[in-house]
Symmetry: C2
Subunit: 160 residues, 2 copies
DNA sequence: CGTATTTAGTACGAACGCGTACAATATGAT
DNA sequence: ATCATATTGTACGCGTTCGTACTAAATACG
């Protein structure tokens, strides 16, 4: 048993704290735009597309389908998206931005990126790239160790 | 306007994906132990202490007090913690592990760390330390840019 | 002393998030 | 063609998360 057994804990703790700090920073801005974070993610995903089914939206936004149903319900109620039955696959639903949704996307998407940009600009290009690589390494390690017998939805194979 | 304006997006996306991968990996193991992630966090925080009030637990676990009430309710219902009124401060509640909670903590805490250890061991000590530093840089940048007029509970000053 | 402010915890509503179960449709093997 | 199996989306329950409002107790201030 090495004496350094749990020296990963500070990194782990920092990962959680940083993610939560980002989520709070991003989410509070999105809230001022009248959306929640998952709702914004869906709008951002559907922007500049001809629509897609729930499965694809789930892969892009990292939401499980059960969660997505409720988010789409609320977006549909706000009149920002439309659900029509898929022309060729009877199981699928084609989700698309409504005109109001398109308008919101145009108004809100780049505004939010502009809100985030200065935060990351402070780190510098090389630090950002190194950080991304290390996070990716960690994620791959997590995915490798995941129990393969669990047959929940599997995002580990797709690299988008 | 630089052409590299939004080159932070891959890093941002990787942060979210990696955090979610960790959360899924850790959470699915905790679930097999009969707890949820926040419940485990509270048990782990109270382990090897003489108890603390809700404010301190919230700071350690990064939960807002409103959230904590519900988590503590369920832990109390399971008989894992006890709530007694604070001897000197009439506003406070002293939260402590019950004997059953102590037993669970002893059984579950190191088991969970042992489950996480090999994932992080793959990265190596230096990578882990660099990753931690970069995440910390990003978090500080986020906290610096946060709107100071928002008067929600402020964890930005404590460094534990 | 008495009032104002701060602090600790709870109550409540809305929205996630996940696991499980389920109905409807596709797909594949024989 | 038929039957087993897989995929798509929804329904539902439990637990969490946040924001806001509220009560009670402690502290500060005049």
């Amino acid at each position: 048993m090495p004496a350094t057994r749990f020296e990963f804990l500070p990194t782990l703790r920092e990962l959680v704290r940083t993610y939560q700090a980002f989520d709070a920073f991003s989410g509070s801005h999105i809230r001022t735009l009248g959306l929640t974070t998952p709702q914004f993610d869906v709008i951002a995903t559907l922007g500049n597309t001809q629509g897609m089914n729930c499965r694809d939206i789930g892969q892009k936004t990292l939401m499980v389908k059960g969660t997505l149903t409720g988010v789409l319900d609320r977006l549909e109620q706000k009149g920002l998206i439309t659900r029509i039955s898929h022309p060729t696959d009877g199981r699928s639903t084609l989700v698309r931005l409504s005109p109001a949704g398109e308008e919101l996307f145009a108004r809100v998407f780049s505004a939010h990126l502009a809100h985030l940009e200065p935060v990351f600009a402070l780190l510098g290009r090389e630090t950002l790239e190194t950080l991304r690589q290390h996070l990716e390494q960690l994620r791959h390690s997590l995915e490798k160790q995941s129990d393969p017998s669990s047959d929940q939805e599997d995002f580990s194979r797709e690299r988008r």
